[in-house]
Amino acid sequence: MKKITLFMVALMAVILTGCMDQHDAPNLDVYGNPSVPEANTTIAQLKQQFKSITSSSGVQQIEDSIIISGVVVADDESGNVYKQIYLRDTTAAIVIGINTTGIYSKLPVGQKIVVNCKGLYIGGYGAMAQLGTLYQGKIGRMSENIWKEHMRTEGRPSLNYKELVPDTIDASWLSSANKDDAPFFVYLKDVTIEEADGYTVYAPEELGDGGNGVNRTLNIGSTTLPFRISTYANFANDYMPNRPFNMNGLLTRYNNDWQITVRTSRDIER
């Protein structure tokens, strides 16, 4: 019996030994390359410097020590913006092309970042300024690894940055704005979608063009804008509102035309 008791004690002792699948939570607060120095250039200055290149859809490697800083105002959360983010400071906004998905998991809207542009390429995609890499003689998306080398985050994301407040615009602003300064982060009031009838969805797969997008028509008073939605957006199959609404938008340029799109369906105020 003694032996059985001993046996039971040994049994309990082993049962009480802990489990091996236990780990401490890491506390990583910087993404990217912590040695990227402080910003020395505004986004407007950067765009101005390379304006002749970008507006002619050219491309050039940045050789100067240009460091910009800004807040992510558009990410790829919904899939409508894809493999890029829009970075904005108080002066202007620029598109950064990164050849990866799920960028928003690290760099969501509201994240302040610093980017060392030296070594990166700047060019015009449809004549709109974009940071990235060289791809078939044009501006293309850089690999995630190159991107991580050239940037660092600053603090946790917050929705309180003033960069996140869009510029309220209207039809007359549109007619006078310079396309070379695109992209813009804007707010529009009382707009309607021409194709909306309460039963039509934003971007059904069968309407997708070569770029997997669908162009709808946005009416701003008597002015119209192509309203572009990706068939991969997670709201592509939502019904479009058939009444006037206010919206946040990314106003972009594709060669000589304005285009507007949204980040997520939350940009369309219901």
Partner: protein, 851 residues
């Protein structure tokens, strides 16, 4: 006849051991060492058993009087050899006469007795066409383990083992009182197996095993025994990967399942299993010729395995996801040189990244925590998490067996068993990786239907339910299986002829009970599926001719009609209640013949078999990379053929040197193109289809294996060396890539070729692995000490020549090589299958001390 029965009854190791004690010590040492090693190697190979892969070995254990069967199981287990390539559900394990195979999936879980080798060594094995005392033996053979407290030899035994396999150290302590004068017997065993990191990087092992049996022998007619055991285990798993990843990591043992968290290794695929079981047995000796044995078994099995989950549009965190590999990043096809200069640069950059730091080719836990912290700062939910998929089970089993010998020429055994099983399937949030919550919706449905659709809800009755750690989410359903059987075996010997016949009659019911109303199947996911009922039957007959002591000729025929397993019976069990269309019994027909020769210095046995299956049902559930969504592919009306020859021979060259040969050449393949039902987890509807499976072989085992071995013993030492050659192993083919809807994309309508396949349909060939050679060696000694104490030492080295190029298995990626419009993809999935390799040189040292 009685002699035969006695032989079978004593076909257990302990009685062999006791008998042998009076004989020479070398034979004991050899048999013990061989046993220990066979046990170890065999059970070790079961450790990888998992829901989603068939990486297990299969054999009939405990058949000591068959030259082929007694060796083949452990000899070929490093290559995960399955006896006749049969699926594990074709073999049965009984404990004290209770059928222990899981009623839902049909297979026995070796991990339920993990580490308890000493307590489960008393086995009686029976191939399909043999008389036995416990049941209607299954096609792939049946084994009954005797766990009655009184049959263990009294005393203490400590076994200590060290090895470099799944675990590094093992300790087992077993104590038995034997049958005491007061009629009581108590036996206990405690085992522990451990590795902070096994042979494969990033895998740990932490397993306890306990066993306790108490028996009371009331008189020479009645005894009652209660045995209970369990093996709580926690272990991290290995994952298969592509040749490209293995090449980049410079190792065939690269494991994509782990990564660094805070600088420490963490594995994403951890199995937690524990199956406490108890069996109560009443033995009743009715008279000298008749015994009745009745057992009642209850078990509660807990099995969970963890996996990474990611939601929203977060990117795939698996380190060997194809887009992270050099050939997945370029815009050209790596098999179609030359590449453009840009592609070469991209490839080089990715190569550099993969090879510059080990952390770069492993899971980045810190990044997942970072992503969740980012969302948390904005009040958002988890993007990355670890989920645990549970397959729990509660089962009760009542079994009764009557054995009667008429006279010295005939014997009958008969019995019944009743099983009721409740399988519980659900997943829980295991770790939110720093986030506070997640919403229970299906991200793939969001893409198709938008956030506002009820279709996206996993739990429609609680829409947008907030999940926290420990909560059930995703799916939750029970499966009820009831089975009842009566059976009988009968054997009669007259002159040189022995006739054997057996039958079985049974019934089985299957029902799913959904506990969550799924948005994709709102009207058929919650509540009962209704009950599917099956009437099962089986019969077999065998004839053995023994013209003299030297020659034995045996013929046998058998058939069975079995219910499909509950696992295969539903087209998308996590989603809805629908049974597979036209669900019927699975039919099996088999025939075999053998010849055995027994001479004083030479013994041999050769046998051949043919087995045909009709109306099989198989279900594949997998994450579909092509569609990026979870997919169920259910095949029905499958026809399969198994055939082969087996040979075993042994020559005694001198009294202490013998040469043994074993080999098999077999085939196991699909012989038709079965119907299929395709269901995506994010859709309500299932689509009928067809799979071009004709000619595809069973995978996960070499179909041919040969072994030549030498046994030598001298002065209490014994040596064994075995050379094994394996070939005709095949990859697990993707049913998805062979769907008619995929293959007929480019087919010209109407015209068919000589095989009846539409012209233009190119059925992808199934990869055959290169064969290879492995050398195993062992050495041992048995030492008799004072006061009856004994010490046995044994060292086994497997794969002495360190052949690290032997594929034991693998699977094709479920994705085809072209886009929907027919354009070729740059990344050719057909050339990037995932593989497992047999372990390189590995050793097992065992010390057993009995006192």
């Amino acid at each position: 006849m009685n002699k035969r029965l006695a032989l079978m009854a004593s076909a257990c190791c302990f009685s062999t051991y006791l008998l042998a004690q009076q004989k020479d010590t070398v034979a004991i040492a050899e048999s013990i060492a061989k046993m220990e090693n066979a046990d170890f190697t065999f059970t070790e190979s079961q450790l990888d058993e998992d829901d989603d892969n068939g990486r297990t070995v299969n054999s009939v254990l405990g058949v000591n009087n068959d030259l082929y069967l007694s060796n083949v199981g452990y000899l070929f287990s490093p290559m995960r050899f399955r006896y006749r390539a049969y699926n594990n559900q074709q073999s049965e394990t009984y404990i004290n006469g209770v059928q222990m195979n899981d009623a839902e999936r049909g297979q026995f879980s070796y991990s339920s007795i993990g580490g308890l080798n000493d307590a489960t060594r008393n086995r009686e094995g029976s191939p399909f066409l043999n008389m036995n005392n416990f049941g209607f033996s299954a096609l792939g053979g049946s084994t009954d383990i005797n766990v009655r407290a009184s049959q263990y030899s009294p005393g203490n035994k400590i076994t200590l083992s060290g090895c470099n396999r799944n675990y590094l150290a093992r300790g087992v302590y077993t104590y038995s009182t034997g049958l005491m004068n007061n009629g009581w017997a108590v036996t206990g065993s405690l085992a522990y197996r451990w590795a902070n990191e096994g042979y494969i990087e990033g895998t740990f092992y932490n397993s306890l095993g306990y066993f306790l049996a108490v028996q009371k022998v009331f008189n020479d007619r009645h005894s009652l025994n209660l045995s209970t055991w369990g093996s709580p285990t926690e272990r991290a798993q290995q994952g298969a990967s592509t040749e490209e990843a293995y090449w980049l990591a410079n190792s065939h043992y690269y494991n994509p399942n782990w990564g660094y968290q805070n600088g420490e290794k963490r594995n994403a695929r951890v199995v937690n299993s524990y199956e406490p079981t108890a069996v109560l047995t009443w033995d009743f000796k009715i008279n000298d010729r008749t015994n009745l044995s009745t057992s009642f078994m209850g078990k509660y099995s807990m099995y969970g395995n963890t996996a990474l989950g990611w939601s929203g549009n977060a990117s795939d965190p698996r380190p060997d996801y194809y887009k992270k590999l050099p050939s997945g990043q370029i815009s050209g096809n790596v098999f179609n040189q030359p590449l453009s200069d840009e592609d070469i640069q991209i490839w080089k950059d990715a190569y550099e990244y993969w090879t510059s730091d080990k952390a770069h080719r492993q899971i980045d836990w810190d990044a997942m925590y970072f992503a969740n912290a980012q969302q948390k700062a904005l009040g958002g939910e988890a993007l990355y998490y670890v989920e645990e998929r549970h397959n729990d089970q509660m089962a009760f089993n009542l079994n009764s067996t009557l054995k009667h010998s008429f006279n010295k020429h005939g014997a009958i055994s008969a019995g019944f068993n009743i099983n009721t099983t409740k399988g519980m399937h659900y997943k829980t949030m295991s770790d939110l990786l720093g986030a506070d919550y997640m919403t229970d919706i299906d991200k793939f449905s969001v893409r198709d239907y938008g956030y506002n659709s009820p279709m996206i809800q996993n739990d429609l009755d609680n829409p947008n339910r907030i999940i926290r750690e420990g909560d059930i989410f995703g799916y939750n359903y029970n499966v009820y299986v009831n089975k009842a059987n009566v059976w009988s075996n009968y054997q009669l010997t007259k002159g040189i002829t022995t006739l054997f016949a057996a039958f079985r009659l049974g019934g089985s019911t299957i029902e799913r009970d959904g506990l969550m109303r799924n948005g994709r199947a709102a009207n058929k996911s919650k509540g009962s599926s209704g009950v599917a009922k099956f009437l099962e039957s089986g019969g077999k007959i065998g004839l053995t001719l023994k013209p003299n002591g030297k020659h034995t000729i045996n013929f046998g025929l058998g058939y069975e009609e079995n219910a499909p397993t509950a696992y295969n019976a539903f087209i998308a069990p996590r989603l809805k209640n629908d049974f597979v269309d036209n669900l019927t019994n699975e039919e099996m027909y088999t025939a075999e013949a053998s010849y055995a020769l027994t001479l004083p210095r030479f013994t041999m046995k050769v046998s051949g078999y043919y087995t045909r299956f009709n109306d099989l049902v198989e279900m594949d559930a997998f994450y579909n990379d092509q569609e990026s969504r979870y997919t169920y592919l259910s095949m029905s009306d499958i026809q399969k053929e198994y055939m082969g020859v087996e040979l075993a021979a042994s020559v005694k060259i001198t009294s202490n040197l013998s040469l043994n040969a074993i080999g098999t050449f077999s085939n196991a393949e699909y012989i038709n193109n079965p119907n299929a039902t395709l269901t995506y987890e994010n859709e309500s509807e299932s689509t009928p289809d067809k799979v071009y499976a004709k000619g595809m072989k069973d995978s996960g085992t070499p179909l041919s294996a040969y072994s030549l071995g030498l046994d030598y013993s001298v002065n209490g030492w014994f040596f064994n060396v075995n050379g094994n050659y394996y070939h005709r192993g095949f990859i697990d083919f993707s049913t998805y890539r062979r769907l008619a809807s995929i293959l007929e994309k480019n087919a010209s309508s109407g015209t068919v070729d000589e095989n009846g396949n539409p012209v233009g349909v190119q059925v992808p060939e199934q990869e055959e692995f290169k064969g290879g050679f492995m050398l195993d060696a062992s050495i041992g000694k048995f030492i008799r000490l004072k006061k009856g104490r004994t010490l046995s030492l044994n060292l086994t080295v497997n794969n002495v020549l360190n052949n690290t190029n032997m594929k034991t298995g693998g699977y094709e990626q479920s994705r085809d090589d072209s886009y929907d419009d027919g354009r070729e993809r740059p990344y050719q999935f057909s050339k990037h299958s995932k593989y497992y390799y047999a372990q390189g040189i590995n050793a097992f040292m065992n010390i057993g001390f009995r006192f």
